[in-house]
């Protein structure tokens, strides 16, 4: 299945890309997706799936948009 991954802020510079469509073998979790793209599990982050926050163990579905962002705290 295909999942779009969007990175926010410093993750863009860390991984060198901003947004890409990824082929993922089902079943796949958000946690697995984060590991697959190469973001440290321990790094504080907020992950949304189609605009809603998700838990690490939640499964992703074909066509999802997953956004991985550091935890901003406001200007």
């Amino acid at each position: 299945m295909k999942v779009t991954v969007k990175l926010i802020g410093p993750f863009v510079n860390q991984l060198g890309w901003s947004e890409r469509e990824t082929d993922v073998a089902p079943p796949a979790t958000v946690e697995g997706l984060i590991a697959a793209v190469g973001i440290d599990k321990a790094r504080p982050k907020i992950v949304t799936r189609n605009g809603r926050a998700v838990a690490p163990g939640e499964e992703v579905q074909d066509g999802d948009r997953v956004v991985i962002s550091p935890i901003y705290s406001g200007g």
Binding site: I8, G9, T48, R52, A53, S69, P70
Partner: protein, 612 residues
């Protein structure tokens, strides 16, 4: 008294006189500095009902016990007065060398009274105050004024100045410093302008009283390096605050078209990546090792410093998705000395009113050149439209009528910051109960709310989090007067702040001691509001009506069909009041005031409004 100079400088512009006043250790420990000093002075000294733009209002500059001492991000000062935009307590902070120089002149605060008979620049030196003519730069922008001051005194002095917006008493005019810093969006620049005070310059060299200067020096420089390293590791300052724009767009929290929409397919064009790519320089405040001021070239080739708030509100909020065009609007705001947030909201209010046929006009969302002309008209109060919009969105809406108050994105008269809370109840509450009107600095609860709670919850956990953040952001950082970014953005521990405080004061405070001070200041500010608005009720703490409007919901995206609900919001507000010890109007109860050591202030407030 270690930690404080123990002195406040009182200046009268009408009589061109000054005096140095001492304060007690008890006063220092009770109010600490910055917002604490300012709120206490304004509460004690301003007569209720005073005209914010009249000579009887007082303009305060106040710093905290760690100001001017090399340690992470301590180069900040608070400016405060009765607010021309809200009629209540108003303040703001900004990065400025005044923080250091005011203390090195021997003062922890400056009180400016009266009104000068001509444009004036105050020059503060050790044991000396001069009232100098500023006619030469009256009518000039903040950049030219700053250059004029630097040419006279060099770049190392502390400077606060205003542009034409402040001179013309635009109600959301700011105070400017260091060419890129602005503060006091509650109209503090207008208060300076009303006093014909174009600028304040301070240069001092007295030692700042500290209990253990050697220890503080070592801690301070070590920690500056540590914060710099944390920023490097996290990469935060690569995109700086504008990193959050793309996230707001993804979670439907971006202001688009006067907050009518929450996301836009072109938002990526003005996000943190694009800002970083367009960067020509980076600026920061004194004692900062995680500088957040990214400049780009605007459409005229001028250097314009952008962050999330001004990109959000002068960009997508106006349906402008070109960084150079946003840079131009931002440059004009900065040079005129107008708040970029309120400026953006006022422009979007007017475009919305025109779009709905409430007022005639040809301004349209996306019309960058049209908005440039409007900004100039506002700053110079040119013509009926410029004059009207210089009053802010709430006053303008009330003058126009025709239901346009619904288009004014404000709380208590202060326009909202760049977070669209159409379906984010906790952040809406944070705007509602901010003590100066809708501002994000008090409690930025949005990531907690989206990550750790159900978005549609109106439960007490959100009210509790708002209070927790208010104690830190609107409390600790505003009275110790230090930038909150090391803590909020790169994980610098809160426990470091009592460490600095204790090193300079010789005290042995813990964080818990500070939370009482925070609650005391918030309650005192509530009493200030009560005196100004004796018939106050909880509706003053409601966020903009458009967020509750079922006809204004998103038609697609993550919050399609959703909006805030009045009865549920009111319940959330009640949770906040209960946890704070406030009554149903949102006023601290007598028991709360007594617990916080505010019995004398309660007695003073009771002459004007009831307490329960």
């Amino acid at each position: 008294m270690n930690g404080w100079t123990g002195h406040i400088l009182r200046v009268n512009l009408t009589t061109k006189t000054f005096k140095v006043e001492s304060f007690t250790e008890e006063f220092a420990h009770k109010w600490i500095g910055g917002r604490g000093f300012a709120a206490k002075i304004l509460f004690d000294e301003l007569a209720p009902g005073v005209d914010p733009l009249g000579p009887d209002n007082k303009f305060i500059v106040a710093v905290g016990p760690i100001a001017g001492i090399p340690a992470p991000n301590t180069g900040k000062a608070v400016v405060a007065a009765k607010s021309p935009s809200t009629g209540g307590y108003g303040d703001g902070n900004l990065g400025t060398r005044i923080a250091e120089h005011l203390r090195k002149c021997g003062y922890d605060a400056l009180i400016v009274e009266g009104r000068a008979d001509r444009p004036t620049m105050l020059l503060l030196e050790e044991d000396k105050v001069e009232f100098l003519p500023a006619d030469e730069v009256w009518g000039k922008g903040t950049y030219e004024t700053n250059d004029w001051i630097y040419a006279k005194y060099g770049k190392g002095v502390g400077v606060l100045n205003i542009g034409q917006g402040g001179e013309n008493m635009v109600r959301y005019a700011v105070v400017r410093s260091l060419e890129g810093r602005a503060g006091g969006r509650t109209g503090m620049g207008a208060v300076m302008g009303s006093k014909r005070l174009k600028a304040i310059v301070a240069k001092g060299s007295k030692p700042i009283p500290q209990a253990d200067p050697a220890a503080m020096k070592k801690i301070g420089y070590d920690d500056l390096r540590k914060v710099q390293q944390l920023d490097k590791e996290s990469g935060w300052s690569i995109q700086s605050t504008n990193g959050v724009l793309a996230w707001c767009n993804e979670v439907a929290a971006l202001p688009v078209r006067n907050f009518r929409k929450t996301h836009h397919p072109d938002a990526w064009k003005v996000d943190g990546e694009r800002l970083n790519n367009a960067r020509i320089a980076t600026y920061g405040c004194p004692n900062c090792t995680m500088r957040c001021g990214i400049t780009i070239h605007d459409t005229a080739g001028r250097e314009s410093e952008l962050d999330y708030e001004n990109v959000g509100l002068l960009g997508p909020n106006l349906e402008i998705f070109d960084l150079k065009q946003i840079g131009t609007l931002n440059y004009l705001c900065d040079d005129y000395g107008i708040d970029t947030m309120s400026g953006g909201c006022v422009l979007s209010f007017y475009a919305d009113a025109v779009d709905h046929g409430a007022v005639p006009g040809d301004i349209k969302f996306g019309d960058a050149e049209g908005f440039e002309k409007l900004l100039t008209a506002i700053a110079l109060r040119q013509g009926p439209v410029g004059n009207l919009l210089a009053e802010g969105s709430l006053r303008a809406a009330r003058a126009i009528g025709k239901g346009t108050e619904a288009y004014a994105m404000q709380v208590k008269g202060l326009e909202v910051a760049a977070y669209n809370c159409k379906f984010i109840p906790g952040m809406a509450l944070a705007f509602g109960v901010s003590p100066i009107g809708a501002h994000h600095k008090e409690s930025w609860v949005i990531t907690f709310e989206i990550k750790q709670t159900s978005r549609d919850s109106y439960g007490p956990e959100k009210a509790q989090k708002v209070i927790e953040l208010q104690r830190i952001r609107g409390g600790l950082f505003e009275y110790i007067v230090s930038c909150r970014f090391p803590w909020i953005e790169v994980g610098w521990g809160l426990e470091n702040y009592p460490k600095y405080f204790n090193a300079v004061s010789g005290l042995n405070w813990t964080l818990d001691d500070f939370w009482t001070v925070s609650d005391r200041i918030y309650s005192l500010i509530k009493l200030f509001w009560l005196r100004e608005y004796p018939q106050t009720d909880r509706k003053l703490d409601y966020p903009p009506a458009v967020w509750f409007d079922p006809t204004n919901v998103d038609t697609e995206g993550p919050i399609a069909g959703r909006h805030l609900e009045y009865d549920k919001y009111d319940g959330l507000l009640q949770h906040y009041y209960d946890l704070r010890g406030y009554d149903r109007r949102g006023i601290p109860t007598l028991a709360t005031l007594e617990r916080l050591g505010l019995s004398a202030e309660a007695a003073a407030a009771r002459k004007y409004g009831s307490l329960t």
